[in-house]
């Protein structure tokens, strides 16, 4: 019986190389391609981060959050306030995201003790509280919001490029962090937690610890997405940043792409971007479609598009997880037939 453990297949090694090449190419977009393309890709990267974060929460840590918009809005809010205190705008974007993400640490002590639906709506209440507190702040002019005027120092072309590189860099960082997480011990323990929490705890897996890592990471990611969004849309209107529709988008992307897979959110984000681009002007019917798709996928294709493909064909593009070779010889064992007296 020859069984060995390997971390990557040939297919995944090839894909990894392709990804690196792609990233190198993407770095040149603001100089090589039009402003329109740059803007669109920036938006795509924001969706990507959001999808990956929500997928990490629900797919890896089993936490369905209907309130990630809390961090999205807080990141933008923190960035604006920092610029109002004279911090350089791009430093403010990074710092704001970090500060907003950091609020997840004390929050986790509390929220992670909630389960299932309680956690879901609890996070929504947190988002509403954040919204409620932010609109009380006169320096962001309540509901009307305020603009990121500190950007005016830079030319439109530079703004676009910086925002793009910030977005690209953030997407790489966060996807990379998730990748590293999945390949690490924490990743394996998350898988165990997702499959059976009690069993995982009984073999010494720190259930709370694993979830906390994902929770804080997701908060950081969403906060960063919020600051990127601020850099591109320039205005901060609290209602749109703290709106629950962001959760709707995240759920759509993660579900349709493939919950619990690494490649799924990427696919979901691309799909969502295309849908948004093509149908975003159709007002409510487009949103109805999103909701309907979420229901459809939740019930009928719970593994999402990528997950179903992965399951059918045993594919895995990127080397996350472990494979046992030589498994065929011990697959599907028959229970022990006879006993010797």
């Amino acid at each position: 019986m020859n069984v060995s453990v390997e971390r990557s297949t040939r297919l995944s090694r090839v894909s990894a190389a392709c990804v690196i090449a792609l990233l190198a190419a993407l770095a040149f977009v603001p100089v090589a391609l039009s402003a329109n393309v740059t803007d669109k890709l920036t938006t795509l990267f924001v969706y990507l981060i959001l999808a990956a974060m929500w997928n990490a929460l629900a797919g890896y840590a089993g936490l369905v959050s209907v309130g990630q918009q809390a961090f999205f809005g807080l990141g933008a809010y923190a960035a604006i306030r920092l610029t109002q205190h004279g911090v350089n705008v791009y430093a403010a974007l990074v710092l704001g995201a970090l500060l907003a993400g950091a609020t997840a640490i004390p929050l986790s002590i509390f929220m992670l003790r909630l389960r299932g639906g309680e956690f879901a709506i609890g996070m929504w209440v947190v988002a509403e509280v954040c919204f409620g507190l932010v609109i009380l702040d006169t320096s962001v002019h309540g509901l009307t919001g305020v603009s990121l005027i500190a950007l005016n120092k830079y030319s439109a072309h530079d703004q676009r490029a910086y925002a793009y590189w910030f977005a690209l860099g953030s997407a790489v960082v966060f996807l990379g962090l998730i990748f590293a997480l999945l390949r690490s011990r924490t990743g394996a323990s998350l898988q165990a937690i997702r499959d059976d929490e009690e069993a995982a705890a009984s073999v010494g897996v720190s259930v709370l610890g694993g979830k906390r890592v994902v929770f804080v990471l997701a908060a950081l990611g969403c906060a960063t997405a919020g600051t990127i969004w601020l850099a591109t849309s320039i205005t901060f209107t609290p209602r749109s940043y703290f709106g629950v529709e962001w959760t709707a988008y995240m759920i759509f992307m993660a579900l349709v792409g493939g919950l619990g897979t690494f490649e799924g959110p990427i696919l979901g984000a691309v799909l969502f971007f295309v849908v948004q681009d093509q149908f975003g002007d159709n007002g409510v019917w487009y949103l109805v479609g999103l909701g309907g798709a979420a229901i459809f996928f939740a019930l009928l294709l719970p593994r999402g598009l990528w997950g179903t493909v992965e399951e059918r064909f045993g594919l895995q593009l990127l080397p996350v997880g472990y494979r046992l070779r030589g498994l065929e010889s011990i697959a599907n064992p028959e229970p022990v037939e006879g006993r010797r007296p």
Binding site: R113, V126, V129, G132, V284, V288, I295
Partner: protein, 298 residues
């Protein structure tokens, strides 16, 4: 005295929250599902009653039609959507009901537009009639009606669960659906019944919202949060707790508003979080402080 009035108003508002939350509480107690579309189902009910009223039917008569219709809708929702969700996994009901929330809200917007609506003009003097208790304490008649209905509803549900064969079957299924099947209870039908009651009461709450205030297609999310907060404050799984929770929420909101009109919502949220924190603290110290009491003990 002004504070007394705020507390009284809060208690009355709590009556509305109790009606709104009773369905959410029932669904969670029996099926362990949190229906994220609950608030939107309430708003849907409000729009239906509104439609009838616009065409000349009294809202009360409209309710006689709308409540059974919404009950059937709840049955269909359970058999068609939630039953499948339950089988698929613990996360799925949340995802499916969230999708439903988005669908309902936006379909309502498509049909009715963004305007605020109200049943105020259709309920005659009831909308603005009130009793003056003292010079500073004034209770609106519609609010009192809602509170009375809340108490009757919760009491009725309690009696139903405690004394009727169907109620016993519901409690048994809530506790152990597999064993309930073994003694002849059709658990799927029981779940569907619970869902029907839940959605019908949601519709009733929606109508009440429309009578005492106004609503628009996107009001559902807010109502869901109120319902959820009321249930958690009062203790998940306890029907009378839902009334208590509603009252605490209403009082907190009104006191907050008295301090600063902008603090109405925030005060409610903060009290909710505080109660949640307290419960979690007590639970971690040991002992079952009502965090997951089953319906049978309500």
């Amino acid at each position: 005295m002004i504070w007394v009035n705020q507390i009284v108003q809060g208690i009355l508002l709590g009556g509305y929250y109790a009606v709104l939350a009773s369905g959410l509480s029932l669904m969670f107690g029996v099926m362990r599902i949190i229906n994220l579309a609950h608030g939107d189902l309430a708003v849907l009910g409000a729009f239906l009653v509104f439609l009838f009223s616009k065409h000349g039917l009294s809202p009360w008569l409209a309710l006689v039609i709308v409540l059974p219709v919404m009950g059937v809708a709840g049955w269909v929702l359970q058999r068609g959507l939630l039953e499948r969700s339950l089988r698929a996994g613990p996360l799925t009901p949340l995802l499916a009901t969230f999708g439903l929330l988005i669908v309902i809200e936006n379909l309502l917007f498509e049909k009715f537009g963004p305007d605020e609506r109200s049943l105020f003009p259709y309920i005659g003097k009831l909308g603005y009639d009130s009793w003056t208790i003292t010079s500073q304490v004034i209770v609106g008649k519609i609010y009192v009606l809602i509170l009375v209905v809340a108490v009757c509803l919760l009491g009725g549900l309690q009696l139903f669960l405690a004394w009727t064969p169907l109620g016993r079957a519901l409690r048994a299924t809530a506790e152990d659906p597999d064993t309930a099947e073994l003694v002849g209870v059709d658990s799927r039908r029981v779940y569907a019944l619970a869902a029907a009651i839940a959605v019908a009461t949601a519709a009733l709450a929606g109508a009440f919202l429309a009578m005492r205030s106004s609503f628009n297609p996107y009001s559902g999310s807010q109502q869901l949060i109120f319902a959820f907060e009321a249930v958690v404050i009062g203790g998940i799984g306890s029907l009378w707790g839902t009334l208590t929770g509603g009252i605490v929420l209403g009082v907190a909101q009104n006191i907050g508003a008295q301090l600063n009109p902008q603090w109405f919502l925030l005060a409610g949220h903060l009290v909710f979080l505080a109660v949640l924190a307290l419960r979690l603290l007590l639970a971690s110290l040991g002992g079952n402080w009502g965090l997951r009491t089953i319906l049978g003990r309500a």
